[in-house]
Amino acid sequence: MINAIKLHLQGIKSALAVRMAYRADFFISILIMLAVEAFMPLVTYLIYKNGASLPGWNMYEALLIQGVFMLSRGISFPFFFGMVWNTIQRVQEGTFDLLLIKPKSVLQMLIVTGFDSEDLGKLIGGIVLFTVSLVNIPFPGLGLWLKFIVLFFVSLVVMFGFGLILSGFGIVWIGNFRVYEIFFSIANFGMYPANIFSKAVVTFITAIIPVAMLGFVPASQLLGRPAEGTLIAVVSSIVFLFVSLLFWKAMFRRYNSAGG
């Protein structure tokens, strides 16, 4: 475990060193990423500013759900979700083969070499929206914070599961970066209160593909109004992770090299 962390830190160090060769461009890119993130809650903001609302949720409660989602994405995208573009790019270019001969697991190497420094802008964006929402609602007590932290960790587990699935697709679906769009279209369901969806959709996003865990479930816990089926969502998140891992392994077995 310590070795794995050391390896990951080394990967981060190398990626940052490479990026620092164009220091100005790096900071500009982070700023642009941050500005891009600012548009994400815009729709919700404008809906509320026009006097409309999502029934039962004030603006900052609704924004908190999106803040949690952005925070979860802000951690996962730079630190491990890079395995997705890394897989797609390597398989397309033929450099995936190089990872097969390394003395570490291929998946670990995909994560380590997939650190995306520019995505740190997403993390800053997530922190900003989360903080702004939080200061505009009654501050949660310690108990709620503890529950939130546990559920937030589970949200990262779900993100990791999605990373595995998309990376698995990247092995067999050559050069298709549009798998990200598939993820975002489904993840969109986790960015809004579940009570606006039909019963069938709620069951789907909590018990089958637990995208509600990416934003709604942890945020509602922090707001002191735990979501229905939280426990089921936690269990299904863990199952989701294992199924994703099996999927990735199955796709990995199907990998065919054409030389690099």
Binding site: S29, F39, I47, W173, N188
Partner: protein, 272 residues
């Protein structure tokens, strides 16, 4: 051989080659058949919840709002463009030098490529999603006036191409343009009305948006499709707004001409 005949031959050859090239990746394009309706489904739930407590939002009913999002989706499949990435890649890799030596203007070649690409998208993306929206979501995707809608979508097609092409030209000056491109895309999507109807913005922002070219990319074709135009309290007839759209296309073309003139003077290619 007359110049027109030669241009027509180039048009046919490039459109056909691009179509064939991208047909090999049609499954990538077909992702839209899943992504478009899933995004739309979320919009249906969001707006249905919002409208459960009120009848209109900024004067739009639930049906009109969903129709708006439905039209945004399908029009985007017709106007989508990647000429910025294509040009910037050619500049960065040095491949652009080969176009300087060809007896075809790169601008003409790029627009032919876009036509070929969108012809494939017509049956892989547009028609399946249109059918899904029409029959499954029951969205009325019948234009108020077919002629003006087609004209407006064509002008939007040109405007998206021209604005993207101009962003692509910045690659002649900047080493890395990924960030600029991404920022521009978000700004364009927001200001064009791709994310939400522009009438939802506060009044003073609507006034600014009215004078910017972005509304002609999505908001105007959508309003022409619906059959009425209004922004920042200004109402215009459909022929008037389409005429204005055409003026903006001409302005963007002139901007492209100026940028291209200075950019190609600056370009230096070695090898490639």
């Amino acid at each position: 051989m007359s110049i027109y005949k030669r241009l027509l031959q180039i048009f046919r050859a490039t459109v056909f080659a691009t179509y064939k090239e991208w047909a090999a990746y049609r499954s990538h394009m077909a992702v839209s058949v899943l992504v478009g309706p899933v995004f739309f489904l979320v919009q249906v739930f969001i707006w249905s919840a919002i409208y459960s407590t009120q009848d209109t939002v900024t004067g739009l009913t639930l049906t009109q709002m969903l129709t708006y999002y439905g039209i945004v989706n399908v029009i985007n499949y017709l106007t989508y463009d990647s000429s910025d990435v294509d040009l910037q890649t050619l500049i960065r890799t040095g491949g652009f030098i080969t176009f300087m030596l060809r007896p075809v203007s790169y601008f003409y070649y790029a627009i032919c490529q876009k036509i070929g690409h969108r012809m494939l998208a017509l049956w892989v993306e547009f028609i399946p999603v249109y059918v899904l929206f029409f029959f499954v979501f029951k969205i009325n995707l019948v234009p108020a006036n077919l002629f003006w809608t087609l004209l407006s979508v064509f002008l939007s097609f040109m405007l998206v191409f021209l604005t993207n092409f101009c962003i692509g030209i910045t690659g002649f000056w900047l080493t890395k343009t990924e960030g600029l491109r991404r920022a521009f895309q978000v700004l364009r999507d927001v200001c064009a009305g791709n994310l939400l109807p522009l009438t939802l913005f506060p009044g003073f922002i609507q006034s600014i948006l009215f004078y910017m070219p972005f509304q002609f990319i999505a908001y105007v074709p959508i309003r022409v499709f619906i059959g009425s135009y209004e922004l920042a309290g200004i109402s215009m007839s459909i022929p008037q707004v389409v005429g204005l759209q055409a003026v903006y296309v001409v302005i963007m073309f002139l901007i492209y001409k100026v940028l291209w003139h200075f950019a190609t003077k600056r370009f230096t290619g070695v090898g490639a």
